[in-house]
Subunit: 562 residues, 2 copies
């Protein structure tokens, strides 16, 4: 370069395209490969989630086996095998060794995977940390052979590299198996593979999971039902959620010949009447050719849509777990005294329908000293990391649990022997990162979660307060029974009565006290254990739940919260 | 599809490639476009960061103007213009209307941008929310004309669409201007454009920023120095950070003909001696052809690298602000009594060199009742969102600020009239999301931040404790001066002395008390204001900083922390 040349020419030489694989190789922590422990979990999660999606799409009750073998220090072999529909030969390399390739991204219906990144990212991570290829076997039915592949990703091009490809014998009639060698670290406890599989079983009562950990015995999570979840139906976008840029590109790509037919065929909930009304509202002709609609007309069209009353999007695109099965799943895995569950009606954020469900298990073997345990789910997948960054956590913290009989400090989860489950089902769950660990704080979603928590909370509150009342009653009765004999014997000494007279007086005293108690109850005074300050402070339990019992006027307060 | 066909064939039809633009259009919150307010800030941030990078690469003192015009409710026009080197004609469309295209991704040297996503994402967001194209003008020197473009992104293909392209007259000799119409929301306060620009000025004392907000007067942030920051030099990767997968692909792509020359040319800090030693350590021949090295040999090579002592990576790839300029910048923008700054020696995470710097401004007009203000920076760019998710915040919370004279509750930032600045400079800053708002918790980074905070904290502690001692001294003196005259006049009444005798006695008393005080000081008793419990509780200030004064043994405690 001579002195005279503008520096821009020199700078220009460095400009180049960056493949999405290179991008994520360098930013692997965005995909859940921050550290060896999380990397191992993420890999299993991506494989199992894909298997579950495939089985459900093909209407097959999923049977999935997961095997983790420790090969050397920090090196593991992971094998995940399913009985799903299998993958056609020519797509195997693309599905497992190419980022941003998949079937679920453009589809508006609930599924676990959505991005087309996860499993290929696992293959890339395995290759990066051990230099070894992914080994895939898949078969689509007994009439077709099983295909075996050894695959690598060419990260610079984000294209699959086929190392080996052959037909093999496989006893399975249909299904897919993936084998990966990767750097990892295996530990039990929170955020472990064991925990992920257990939590998966809770909200997917129709699946069978067979798990062989690196050490110890095989674990089997048996299915609790033979009924498949209701299949989520693909929908078209709802007109209320469409933005002008998206509308313009839809108008450019459509095969419809008129504006009216465009509206009817590209959106959900628009019939010919509604389509005409939208056009009329802003003086556009229903027979305008979509390609002749310019930016300004598109802006008017959006206006027309906003002005027209259109019914809410269909919700068969979502397949919630349902109150009954959610509670059943929770009962199976957590030993408690009280269970409740709620499923909210569908709502919409940015045009995407979603449903929030919540369930609580209270008491039993759960620790009363610790924070409530929070189990978060999105489209039936447990979320184990980034609890603090999640909309579910914020909503749980902002709920007034004291109203429901649990103690709670400002800005914290409540304390008590309880497990809270929250499930968000949507055609597109907005995660805070590609690793899909926490849900973004869209206001509509935060609001729905809070409403679900309040519904569950009210049911819980009734139980907790009743339980406290019974304990309180028991204690009063104990006092009466403890002190009356002393009064009797004192009277006996003072006025020199007989044993039978003593018993009679004791009986009368007990009756009188029980009666007073009954009357106090009728006017609602001792319904609230907080009424008698001294008595309330006798039991240890009351002390722990400082101030939590002030439950009068619950409903009003919770309504004001929003 | 007949009944007989395997379902896999049907499922296969839905598989397709997803363009990275489609991916981020749907996941726009990952890029900082969660809501209209943040979207407006993100757009300006991306444009300004690019301008600053370009100016610095071309060794031009940056002069950047930012204009925000409110066009209608929630619709804004943003114009950012710089005096940078300009962009060559044929690259303008790619740089502004194609995601994952840029010059900084593969380069190992410090820069603000790194992903090749930001500005094109802003163009995409503008197009999506207003349907309008981006307008770009750029010129590389007086001998070349200025080029004007109107650009759109074809999101399905992630390719630029050129709406208009022409040569225009432009008074600027070189520079770039971008104009975008987008949905936004303008508010002052935290996380505002004003705040971002002000914070940018603090750590970039060499830049001039002219800002025209939608309402109100123009704001000019003048430069504080004519000296450009030291230019960051591009380096090769350090061998200690290389993973086997990366090594295998480097071996496949290299033009070197022997293993020895490969090691010398592709890595930093490897001369011929070190290269030979690496090979010797694991019995590989230095003249092996790189293409003949298989996976197992590559694994041995990694082993050989680990066994060999190689000096730390060069650090001229990083351009820290420096203690002096950091303090100067802070002085310019924050009115305080005490300032200190520290720059740590370089460290390495995952093979990437980085430097942590910290500075504190204490006292003055800052509120003593609030939490310490935290200003986070990465590669000279202020981070305004997701403070809670950032490694800087975690490190600041985990530092024992009580040792340095500030009060602090467990798990919270300290309370006091202080602003803390933390800057991380690296060839690759690991952010928790593409929106580059928070730094990921790599243990090496967390550790360095803590060390920087402790260094600054110790300097602060000396000042705060000295100030407290002086206040305490002053109070003692006040007491002596208040009470001695009373003693004098009492004596006068009791023993009937003259006025002059009274004065003399008062003088003697004062002297005696001062002397005692002096001796107490010598033996170190009243050095600690906490010594006299009663006295310490007199001033309001002490009360507020409950227990913060226990400063003896600071150094030991802070060393034990790590």
């Amino acid at each position: 370069m001579t002195e005279e040349e503008p520096i821009a020419l020199e700078l220009a030489k460095k400009q180049r395209e960056i493949s999405v694989a290179s991008f994520f190789e360098k930013n692997r922590h965005l995909l859940g490969f921050d550290n060896p422990r999380k990397a191992l979990l993420t890999t299993i999660k991506e494989a199992v989630d894909n298997s579950l999606d495939a089985c459900e799409e093909a209407n097959i009750l999923p049977e999935i086996s997961v095997e983790v073998i420790e090969m050397s220090e920090n090196k593991f072999k992971v094998i995940v095998e399913d009985n799903g529909p299998g993958i056609v030969k020519k797509q195997i390399p693309h599905i497992f060794a190419r980022l941003l390739y998949g079937s679920k991204f453009f589809k508006l219906s609930q599924s676990r995977g959505q991005q087309g990144i996860g499993i290929s990212a696992s293959v890339m991570y395995a290759q990066l940390t051990t230099g070894r290829s992914a080994k895939i076997t898949s078969r689509i039915d007994p009439k077709h052979p099983a295909h075996y592949y050894e695959l690598r990703i060419d990260t610079h091009k984000n294209k699959p590299g086929i190392q080996k490809e052959e037909i093999v014998k496989w006893e399975k009639e249909h299904g897919t198996k993936i084998e990966l060698d990767l750097e990892g670290s295996y530990q039990k406890g929170d955020q472990s593979i064991d925990r992920y599989l257990k939590q998966t079983a809770i909200v997917n009562p129709h699946i069978t999971l067979i798990y062989q950990p690196p050490k110890g015995e095989q674990v089997i999570f048996a299915k609790a039902t033979d009924i498949m979840p209701k299949k989520a139906i693909e929908i078209k976008p709802h007109p209320y959620g469409v933005e002008i840029g998206r509308l313009i590109s839809m108008l450019a790509l459509t095969e419809s010949r008129t504006l009216q037919s465009f509206l009817m065929s590209e959106f959900s909930r628009i019939g010919s009447g509604t389509a005409k009304q939208i056009c009329e509202n802003v003086s556009l002709l229903p027979n305008t050719k979509p390609r002749n609609i310019n930016r300004d007309m598109a802006e008017k069209l959006i206006e027309g849509i906003q002005k027209t009353k259109i019914i809410a999007p269909p919700t068969d695109c979502i397949s919630p777990i349902g109150e009954e099965l959610l509670e059943k799943g929770l009962r199976k895995e957590i030993n408690a005294e009280f269970y409740c569950a709620t499923t909210r009606p569908p709502a919409v954020y940015r045009g995407n329908p979603f449903v929030v469900e919540a369930a609580i298990a209270y008491g039993g073997e759960q620790s009363a000293e610790d924070s409530m345990k929070l189990l978060r789910y999105a489209n039936r997948v447990p979320l184990l990391y980034q609890q603090g960054a999640c909309a579910v956590t914020r909503s749980a913290i902002n709920t007034m649990w004291r109203n429901y009989g649990l103690s709670q400090s400002r800005g914290a989860l409540p304390v008590g022997p309880a497990t809270l489950v929250v499930h968000i089902a949507s055609v597109w769950v907005p995660f805070t990162s590609e690793s899909k660990e926490a849900i973004a704080h869209y206001p509509e979603i935060v609001k729905e979660i809070k409403l679900a928590l309040q519904e569950c909370g009210r049911k819980l509150g009734l139980y907790v307060n009743k339980k406290k009342r019974i304990q309180f009653e028991g204690k009063k009765r104990d006092y009466i029974q403890t002190f009356i004999p002393h009064i009797g014997s004192a009277l006996k000494n003072l006025i020199n009565i007989s044993d039978s007279e003593e018993k009679k007086i004791e009986g009368l005293l007990a009756e009188a006290l029980e009666k007073t108690r009954g009357e106090l109850e009728k006017v609602g005074v001792i319904d609230n254990p907080d009424y008698d300050g001294e008595m309330a402070s006798i039991g240890k339990e009351e002390k722990k739940e400082e101030g939590a019992e002030k439950s009068e006027g619950n409903e009003k307060q919770t309504t004001l919260e929003d």
